[in-house]
């Protein structure tokens, strides 16, 4: 099992600090603006205006009553508009700030309302203008309450940031979900929780201290220091992938074997350090790549990547093909395609992706024609021509080996060929090197031309890696797709 490295924890911590800092900053700026307006439009205040006050109050209440998770999802278009993506630290900041602005606005309003009426009257008897009233009376007098409120907001934001992390927002929350929850690694979960507790304690302590001091200066200084720190984390993130080290995500299983060889070649021949991060599902490797936790992944084919990019707004790009692990049609009844009789029964996998893949293969073999628009997600309904009146049966991929005695032709993916007692080269029809479904090396779009990845490609195409792969998939089980 993958062991969490300190570096990963540190990076996630920086990310959390960055996210929370920027979200807090935005919330303080807009929150205090709205809070001040809420207060000044109250009865007897400088801008007394019932409609504005109640309208603004309603808006604040509505925003505050939307559960964060729903808010986060429902403003996805806004997030994309503002930061151009819906994953990563910057995308997490948008919903966080939006949730915290009304929260802080109310805190400000309440803090101002706590100022004794006598003091406000005194201010007016001194002939203050409204800006003087705000900056000489309202803010200084309620500063301790404002700071305590800020502490509360920041801590709430830390909690929310963990929630945002679970949907690709980066930071400690994502770390806990990716490496802790998804992989049942209790240590990782514990570590992230401990770091979160530590940060919260630190914020609380600093908040209490600053509130006692009642001074604006230490607050601003603290803010600036934190700002620099979180900026540092961004710079760090920017340069970390410039190091001669790449974190590559793969899925558990035989890939781990292949990558061991790749690691060796990379280190020996290319002075490149590869870190292999293993995932147990097909979603997380892309999420982790999109928000920078890893630098590249090798586990998917192009149609899957395109679907993920589309569904999740990732900006991930393929830089090279590796191997095709061909899907093929196998049969116990015939050995050549020419033997296939009209009206024969053909069994296909029923998941949308593999159904399309198998139909495309049949089309390529000249058995049927498909609606061109259907593409990789073609279904039985997209068959436009079936001159030999074949019959089709859709089955769960795992069930397919069992119908070999009944069906004339059965589509098998790489995983089931061995189980069904075949070798790849016994297929009646199978995909070739030109298959759309070749595995690919995927990186973030902006890293496409990074020379480090050219090295990675070279490593993956090296003789040793090829030999290792072909030894795991003998007799045509892995076809080099890059030639």
């Amino acid at each position: 099992m993958y062991k969490l490295e300190l570096a990963l924890l540190l990076k996630a911590t920086w990310e959390t600090i960055y996210i929370v800092y920027v979200a807090s900053l935005i919330s303080v700026i807009f929150g205090s603006l709205i809070g001040t307006l809420l207060f000044l439009t109250r009865e007897k205040q400088a801008f007394e205006n019932r409609w504005l006050h109640h309208g603004l109050g309603l808006l604040v209440n509505v925003t505050r009553s939307i559960p964060f998770i729903i808010l986060m999802i429902s403003i996805i278009p806004l997030t994309r508009l503002l930061v151009g993506t819906t994953i990563g630290s910057n995308a997490a900041i948008v919903p966080l700030a939006l949730a915290a602005i009304p929260f802080y606005a109310r805190i400000c309003e309440n803090a101002f309302a706590e100022i004794p009426a006598g003091l406000i009257e005194t201010a007016h008897s001194l002939g203050v203008t409204t800006p003087q009233f705000i900056f000489k009376i309202l803010i200084p007098e309620s500063l301790p309450a404002l700071i305590r409120g800020l502490t509360l907001t920041v801590i709430a934001l830390i909690g929310y940031s963990a929630m945002a992390g679970t949907v690709g927002g980066g930071g400690l929350g994502e770390l806990a979900i990716n490496y802790g929850y998804q992989r049942f690694d209790a240590i990782v979960t514990l570590e992230t929780v401990l770091v979160l507790i530590f940060i919260v304690q630190l914020v609380q302590f600093a908040g209490d201290f600053l509130a006692k001091r009642r001074k604006l200066k230490p607050l601003v200084v603290t803010g600036l220091i934190l700002g620099l720190l979180s900026l540092g984390s961004q710079i760090d993130a920017h340069f970390s992938s410039q190091n001669d080290e790449l974190k590559i995500g793969i899925t558990a299983g035989w890939s781990e074997e292949v990558m061991k060889t790749a690691q060796k070649i990379a280190a020996e021949q290319y002075q490149l350090k590869l870190k292999i991060i293993t995932f147990n599902d097909y979603v997380q490797p892309n999420t982790a790549l999109a928000n920078g936790n890893i630098d590249g992944n090798i586990f998917q084919h192009l149609p899957y990547l395109e679907a993920q990019n589309k569904a999740r707004g990732y900006r991930l790009a393929p830089i090279a093909k590796t191997f095709v692990y061909p899907m093929g049609f196998y049969s116990r009844k015939i050995s050549r395609l020419a033997e296939l009789k009209a009206g024969a029964l053909i069994a296909l996998p029923n998941d949308p992706s593999n159904e399309g893949r198998s139909l495309l293969l049949l089309q390529k073999a000249g058995l049927i024609s498909l609606q061109p628009k259907a593409g990789t997600l073609a279904t039985l309904k997209d068959i436009t021509e079936n001159p030999q009146h074949f019959q089709f049966k859709l089955l769960d991929a795992a069930q397919l080996p069992r119908v070999l005695n009944d069906a004339d032709l059965v589509a098998l993916t790489n995983d089931y060929i061995g189980a069904a007692g075949f070798k790849t080269n016994q297929a009646v029809v199978r995909e070739g090197a030109d298959s759309l479904y070749a595995n690919i090396i995927v990186v973030r779009e902006k890293d496409k031309d990074n020379p480090l990845f050219k090295k990675l490609v070279a490593v993956m195409h090296s003789k040793a890696v090829v030999a290792k792969t072909e030894s795991l998939f003998p007799q045509g089980g892995a076809i080099q797709a890059w030639h």
Partner: protein
């Protein structure tokens, strides 16, 4: 200096009109210390707050220094407020600012340059005797000290008018005396007009030149302080003085006697009137109460005594007293 004309103020609470001020007409001279006395809820604070328009009257005019404030724009009003100092019962200092900072606030608001602020605040600290507390915060001061900071703040912009709402009501008698002394001093030295509001007769007695009595929103009586004390006209004023000085009230012991309250003003108090009564008219005399009050610089003496004797003798004695400048009031026959 201040002239209130036909001032009316009403509040509507739960849709019911409440008249807090009714047709107030008031004139205060430059350099005068004018006291407004009244029971709780009489409308004193409302009156005071009308003078700098913290409370806008429903009708009437507020002339301060030759300008009717009710006709001014907000910006103009702000300018005028800079020239009206206010002192509050609860000091209303900013907790976030030091003594220095609190006194500097009005100067900052009027945009004075930094060196002037330094100089002016130092001067004021001297005046109110708090030079050594310059860097203290309000939380570190006693009530009397806080009020002196309040006074310094009110004086910072060299106002020509000082409004005091119960400036001493939260202080013990020693601090009260100190604060009143200070007010008197600045009134004299800076020839400042002071409008002072209180429910304490003692305060009025010590420093006010003239007093107005307000009751249920109406100005019911107005006179020089000594006169208010020695010769109150309205029931309300009499009650106020009665309560403040704890005048003796006739009881069982006075069944068959003529109980008189004699008021002496200034030199009168020196006259040996009682001994001459006893000698001249053959009446018996029982002293019930004797008080000497110092009102500003004048002494006012009160003597309450029970006279017994022949009816005719008593009548003669009364007539005699009334022939002097001494004021006699029959409390019981």
């Amino acid at each position: 200096m201040i002239e209130l004309r036909q001032l009316n103020k009403s509040y509507s609470v739960h849709n019911r009109e409440f008249h807090a001020l009714k047709n107030i007409n008031l004139h205060i001279e430059r350099g005068e210390i004018y006291g407004v006395l009244g029971k709780s809820g009489a409308g004193k604070s409302t009156l005071l707050r009308s003078v700098n328009l913290l409370e806008r009257p429903n009708s009437g005019q507020v002339w301060v220094n030759g300008v009717d404030l009710t006709t001014l724009s907000l910006a103009q009003l702000r300018e005028h407020r800079h020239k009206i100092g206010v002192i509050f019962q609860h000091y209303n200092l900013l907790d976030s600012r030091s003594v220095f900072g609190n006194i500097a606030l009005p100067l900052e608001i009027t945009g004075r340059p930094e060196p002037e602020i330094q100089r002016k605040v130092t001067e004021l600290l001297e005046l109110v005797g708090l030079s050594d507390k310059r860097h203290h915060f309000p939380a570190q001061l006693s009530g009397g000290q806080k009020q002196r900071v309040g006074i310094a703040r009110a004086l910072a912009t060299d106002p020509h008018l000082l409004l005091c709402d119960e400036a001493t009501s939260s202080l013990d008698s020693e601090s009260t005396t100190a604060v009143l002394h200070l007010l008197k001093k600045i009134n004299r030295e800076l020839s400042l007009t002071v409008l002072l509001i209180t429910h304490e007769l003692d305060v009025v007695k010590k420093i006010c030149d003239r007093v107005g009595i307000i009751d249920h929103g109406q100005l019911v009586e107005e006179n020089a302080t000594v006169t208010i004390f020695s010769n109150p006209q309205t029931k309300v004023t009499q009650q106020l003085i009665q309560q403040a000085l704890h005048f003796y009230v006739p009881d069982q012991n006075d069944k068959d006697s003529l109980v008189l309250k004699l008021t002496f003003i200034g030199k009168d108090s020196d006259e040996p009137i009682i001994s001459s009564l006893v000698k001249k008219f053959n009446v018996n005399f029982n002293l019930r109460q004797a008080l000497i009050e110092k009102v500003q610089d004048t002494t006012v003496g009160f003597t309450i005594c029970a006279l017994t004797g022949e009816a005719s003798a008593l009548e003669q004695a009364l007539a005699y007293i009334r022939s002097t400048s001494i004021k006699a009031e029959i409390l019981h026959v």
